[in-house]
Symmetry: C2
């Protein structure tokens, strides 16, 4: 919970007031939001100029900086974390410099008017969990079969068999058949039993050795116990990694944001 002394909110503050409060905030590693009329210069590997306009500037406690216009989800200028920050006055303007080394890059923001200055100490320990869709995970595994294991070669997917649809099947590096069952969240006992059914069916049908692999971000203790007793296997598949693989293979659709 925010202690009221940890929040500073100033409406239409003077430039001198903003400079004093900002430098204190930079020292104490607080997160700052400034709304006002500004222009922005960027110099680094390339360079850019943004003319005056009313914008939102966020400076975070880790020294990352964002300049947002009133449209679009991408910042028009930004600096990654670890910037050296400085607020100063020149020609009645507030100047904020955010400098990075290696490579050397500077974003300089010139405010001629500030409507809102707010400073916070934000407490945020909240865990972020990302779940891919099963289809995303399936496509990622087909593109990058090493997500399952070195030498795994997918043969087919969504293959209809008597008890249902097999997500992916293929062969391992020793030529043994492998059935993969994909779950997008923590796998439970039902997922294990589903995989066991497919493996059992194929073993009977093909009269050959069949390995069963459950691919999921995690597995419950109970499910893992059952899995081991059925001589099936678990492979942790990270949804973030799946997204990265899909993105890498969809380059032309990626619209990255520019400095």
């Amino acid at each position: 919970m925010q202690d009221s002394e940890h929040i500073i909110i100033c409406e239409n503050p003077s430039i001198n007031d903003v400079i004093a409060k900002l430098n204190e905030a930079f020292n104490e590693r607080r997160t700052t939001i400034i709304v006002g009329s500004c222009r922005v210069d960027y110099h680094g590997r390339a360079s850019s100029k943004l003319e005056y306009g009313e914008r939102i500037v966020i400076i975070k406690e880790d020294g990352s900086v964002l300049v947002h216009r009133s449209k679009g989800y991408e910042p028009v200028n930004w600096q990654p974390s670890g910037c050296v920050l400085q607020a100063l006055k020149d020609n009645d303007e507030l100047i904020i410099k955010a400098t990075k080394r290696n490579p050397s890059e500077t974003v300089t923001i010139f405010f001629d008017r500030v409507y809102l200055l707010s400073i916070f100490k934000l407490i945020d320990e909240g865990k972020f969990s990302l779940y891919a869709s099963e289809e995303d995970m399936q496509r990622a595994i087909l593109i990058e079969p090493t997500l399952i294991e070195e030498g795994f070669k997918p043969i087919d997917y969504e293959r209809k068999v008597e008890p249902g649809f097999i997500d992916i099947y293929g062969v391992d590096k020793n030529g043994r058949m492998v059935v993969v069952e994909i779950k997008r969240r923590t796998a439970n006992k039902e997922a294990v039993l589903q995989l066991a059914k497919y493996v059992e069916y194929l073993r009977k049908d093909l009269s050959r050795e069949v390995r069963g692999i459950l691919a999921a971000p995690d597995i419950s203790r109970e499910a893992n116990h059952l899995l081991l007793s059925l001589k099936l296997e678990f492979r942790r598949v990270d949804p973030k990694k799946c997204f990265k693989i899909l993105k890498k293979n969809r380059v032309r659709k990626i619209t990255d944001f520019f400095k």
Copy 2:
């Protein structure tokens, strides 16, 4: 300049007050900043959950939404422009829903405490100009020679000749020699004269036809006049396009942000 009635700033507002003001702001397409304690659900192609923490939420006039934690330049959740926005109350919490169709995606933000609500009508007509480094432009042209023209084949770059270094030289689709001089900003008369020197030198040295092309984001009127009189050519090379080409060819280094 902001009219004072166009700015609303509320410190520690009640949830009811926030809901009323937010729905009005959504109707009037204003830009909103909310700082408080919230959790976030995302459902779409994939899904994600973010536990409670103190964060900054920006909702822009075009219906784009950003949720920022106190660290990192990337938002933890976001929606592109064009969202349908809705603020409502449930279990004493403020709920903001941002929904997109095609593909169907919803970001839902649950606030149990709001420290700051601020609403603006931001006026921003400022032009953004991006200048690539000459090295960036050179690399982009080597990767994608059609930036100069269809059929252009680069042979070498940074080639030392008597009067200096030639940025890129190659042959056109008819086998004629082409010298390319690159400028990262609006090309002036000096740039034209520099190109003319190289072309002159090579024509004498090789006793063959040599075309000279000045590649830059823009050219001054004066420089263009001189260029035409010297029978040299200008090619507009857009720095944003150069960045896109470089990014496309540096995929593995791109760390995109995730929903």
